[in-house]
Symmetry: C2
Subunit: 306 residues, 2 copies
């Protein structure tokens, strides 16, 4: 039996960098741990690991009989398919409390902050373990990604202080410039198959028994989608049917204008009117100031489904 | 909207002392919080509060529209009945992860240690808040109660170190003597109505859709039950029917002999044979070395029900 540290399906930078950072910490305190991932790296995450010279975690989908430390969620739909046959020994997360349960005591480091890596930094502090330069670098990038360089309403003072401390450890002078460089990588959508774009940062949620799929693409300028928006809409319609989903939403987030256009296809035509006070027209609706799926999209939907 | 800190139904010393200790901490860091309880104090808890001159938390069963910080569990069956209408802002616990969920981010301080108050001490350390003498005293007693003065297999080095630190703050020289004094109070069962005894430390568990009620009485000498064992058995049979439960178990734990006699009534006659490798005879079975419901009773049952 080994202990694996693994984030959610369709891993984002927080899931990947968190798995690496937490596995390193666990090994330092005498608990052998292996970082793992449930899916392919996004271009953003590949850029981060390359920048700091770290290897991608092991690709592994089955965890039966193993110990698992979950990063960045507490939801069955986002966990390994055979998680019921594994032993969950811990969870580090910054989302709402999901439906994962265990049959034995575990540790949970869950905080209402902007990024799991901010909490992992607290764990390093708690265990008084020094963070290596390159790991501090990827943790910092994960936080800048999740908080949209501090612009997201999910960003807390704990995240900002954490980035400042990590920048010092990693020897990064201008972390905002690094953040913009990262978001430029994220904004490059040309030539990428439409399905890959929809799936790049995609999560399924169980909302009162209905399956709701929500993808998000954060870019520096929404005009990159002008030529492919109709293809994206056609593809989420297909995914709605394929996955037997009640609703599919794709957030096209403009991090400079600080808002999101939602592409919506749902069994409930009044969904966005009820959740966000704004009607979907021809499958599209612009929500000013909306940057965060976790804080500005999911809870409001959950209320409608309750 | 107020923030209440509240433990589980049929509160034990960990739930009550934890609510007081955590509410005090929250107030110190600028978050107004009120300690509350879902039921009557046990004689042990009353002894502890009296010893350190602290008031009982407010008795309050309805929390609709309020913020709630949950102490010592993460289970729907142990939470306030209207918890779905409240906002859970945090959980501090040392049990398996239960079925509570939230629609917004929260903080969870969950650790595989012997007592919630050990974790609350970590929270004081994290926030660098000084623990008053009397609160240190009740926290120490809660840990001695949950760990059966360090004898329980749930006891960890973190619990022991925590008690030592709290003893210094509270100015208690012989904490083991205090622990024995407390367990003597707990051992006094004469004159108490049978139902009150069964309910003194009672928890309902949802095991794969079946309701399983498990009570525990920890005493210094099991002979105190000689005259009332048949009455206890009759009463758990009544409670099984009343509550539409699959199984009722009452643990009579001898903390000096370090083992428990289980009084069992279940729809599955082979339950203890399957869970603990020992057959129930005439509704009774002795399990040597078993002191902990959480670690030595519940997970094994859960396996059988899975």
């Amino acid at each position: 039996m080994s202990m694996y540290v693994v984030g959610h399906k369709i891993p984002d930078s927080d899931s990947i960098c968190g798995a690496i950072a937490l596995a390193y910490l666990k090994n330092q305190i005498g608990e052998a741990a292996i970082p793992a991932r449930l899916g392919e790296l996004s271009p953003e995450t590949a850029f981060i690991l390359d920048k700091f010279g770290l290897e991608s975690p092991e690709f592994k989908t089955s965890y039966a009989g193993e110990e698992v430390y979950i990063v960045d969620h507490s939801e069955l739909t986002q966990a390994p398919d055979d998680i019921a046959e594994a032993t969950i020994v811990g969870i580090v997360d910054h989302h709402k409390l999901g439906d994962l349960t265990t049959s034995t005591p575990l540790e949970c480091w869950i905080r209402p902050v902007g990024c799991s890596n901010t909490i992992i930094k607290m764990m390093y502090d708690f265990y008084q373990v020094e963070i290596p330069q390159n790991i501090a670098g990827i943790m910092l990038c994960a936080i800048l990604s999740d908080t949209v360089i501090f612009k997201s309403p999910t960003c807390t003072t704990a995240d900002i202080k954490c980035v400042e401390a990590l920048a010092e450890i990693a020897g990064i002078e201008d972390f905002k410039a690094l953040g913009m460089e990262m978001f430029k990588v994220k904004s490059a959508v040309e030539g990428t198959p439409v399905r890959d774009l929809v799936m790049r940062d995609f999560k399924d949620f169980n909302m009162n028994g209905e399956l709701v799929g929500i993808g998000q693409l954060e870019v520096i300028d929404l005009s990159v989608f002008d030529d492919i928006k109709e293809e994206l809409e056609a593809d989420i319609a297909v995914m709605k049917v394929e996955g037997n989903r009640h609703t599919m939403i794709l957030l096209l987030t403009d991090i400079m204008k600080e808002g999101s256009e939602l592409l919506v296809i749902s069994d409930n035509e009044e969904l966005t009117a009820k959740a966000y006070g704004k009607v979907t027209e021809n499958g599209r609706v612009w929500l000013d100031g909306v940057l965060s799926r976790k804080k500005q999209i999911v809870p409001q939907l959950q209320e409608v489904f309750a």
